[in-house]
């Protein structure tokens, strides 16, 4: 059987990490192709439900990344985001969701090499953890229901 290739979803902010990931490309730095980048105006805009939705739609790991503190394009979006992640991370850990699968980072527009490193480390961590079977099982529950209604 082929080696397990984790699916990683990255929620990044437009101004820092997205530009940083662009720099990774223009600098011709190779990094794992497992990541699907979703661009947001700001980390403050990333609703916690989107992370749960990513897992429900088959993601094995998640990267959340934006501007370093004090670098936010909107002055304090990332400060709000930081608080939200502190609370959310504790809550989902308490609810039994594997927080090792979510990697929170600050990557600036100048840190192209660091973005490659963040992706590569996350892919390796999640590869070791394996597919997120628990969540996938639970996510299938809604299809069970839909099948029943169509019958």
């Amino acid at each position: 059987m082929a080696e397990f290739e984790p699916k990683i979803v990255a929620f990044v902010c437009n101004w820092c990490t997205y530009a940083g990931a662009d720099l990774t490309g223009t600098s011709r730095i190779k990094y794992a192709a497992n990541v699907k980048i979703i661009r947001f105006p700001c980390t403050g805009r990333i609703d916690f439900m989107l992370l749960l939705k990513a897992f429900a739609n088959g993601a094995d790991g998640i990267i959340v990344s934006g501007c370093h503190p004090n670098d936010c394009h909107y002055t304090y979006g990332n400060f709000h985001a930081r608080r939200r992640w502190m609370i959310f991370r504790k809550l989902i850990d308490f609810a039994g969701i594997d927080i090792n699968r979510i990697s929170f980072n600050w990557v600036s527009a100048a840190e192209g090499a660091r973005w490659a490193e963040v992706v590569n480390t996350t892919v390796e961590t999640v590869r070791k953890l394996g597919p997120y079977e628990n969540y996938k099982q639970v996510a299938l529950s809604i299809y069970d229901q839909e099948d029943k209604t169509h019958e």
Partner: protein, 267 residues
């Protein structure tokens, strides 16, 4: 409780308030809410150990708001809920008169925010030792055990939303769970939808929940929903030194930030 009945009658007859929200005899374990608008109805009021529902939940309802000025029988949780609602501009000072009942069954009138704040400053509003113990016990489990524990609990949920209706702070006219563009949470009860609903509900109460425990008491399937919020309350107090519902001018934890908030997981 005669003193309470007399007080309600006085408030109504002197037109100080238009409705008194108190407790009446219920059909089950707990007393039910009574909305006293006529003098004679005041005799229905009771106050005993079955009266634990957080009546602040009705202050928000349109049909109650339209009745006019409200007097509300309150315990410490009710008072804190009122202050959170006030801090979110859901009613203004003077619209609600709190009738706080002391452990010695004395009635204390609290007409303004200051009197509520002063009172709350003197009482212990932290988690009780038994509540702390349950949180610790779950936190000590492995992730897999916690997952199984909660999946088993969430599986009981059939989305009656009693937790939402009972909560004084769940007052959005359009809840995210009813939003269908996009459909955040599957409508029918399913393992995924149940988990998403309960995590979302807890998260939307983060920094606002006053730990009255009505969500868990309202749950017909006995899901210990308040454990999720215990955990939040504990974390928020530790990380941000914040406690909901202590001041009418407070800003909830997630609506604000400090540039030096400390975490150890963002690389």
């Amino acid at each position: 409780m005669n003193e309470l009945i007399a007080k309600a009658k006085y408030l109504l007859s002197s037109k100080t308030v238009d409705v008194v929200i108190g407790y009446g005899k219920g059909s089950g374990k707990y007393a039910r809410a009574e909305f006293i608008r006529k003098l004679d109805d005041a005799d229905k009021m009771i106050y005993n150990e079955t009266c634990i529902q957080n009546l602040a939940t009705y202050v928000q309802k349109h049909e109650v708001k339209h009745l006019g000025k409200i007097a509300i029988v309150a315990n410490n949780y009710t008072l804190r809920s009122l202050l959170v609602l006030a801090s979110e501009f859901q009613f203004t000072e003077g619209q609600v008169l709190a009738l706080y009942i002391t452990p010695e069954n004395k009635i204390v009138e609290m007409p303004d925010f200051k009197s509520i704040e002063d009172h709350l400053a003197t009482v212990d509003t932290g988690l009780k030792p038994d509540e702390k113990e349950i949180v610790d016990r779950i936190e000590k489990m492995t992730v897999a055990e916690r997952w199984d524990f909660w999946q088993k609990e969430f599986a009981k949920c059939f989305k009656c939303f009693a937790c939402r209706s009972s909560c004084p702070l769940c007052y959005c006219t359009k809840c995210m769970t009813e939003s269908n563009q996009p459909q955040w949470i599957p409508v029918a009860a399913s393992d995924l939808g149940n988990m998403e609903w309960h995590i979302m509900r807890a998260m939307h109460l983060a920094g606002r929940c006053v730990n009255c425990g009505d969500c868990a008491r309202a749950c017909p399937m006995d899901i210990p929903l308040n454990l999720l919020t215990y955990n939040l309350i504990e974390g928020i107090e530790k990380d941000f030194g914040a406690k909901a519902g202590m001041k009418a001018t407070d800003i909830s934890t997630l609506s604000t930030f400090k540039p030096d908030d400390k975490e150890n997981f963002i690389k």
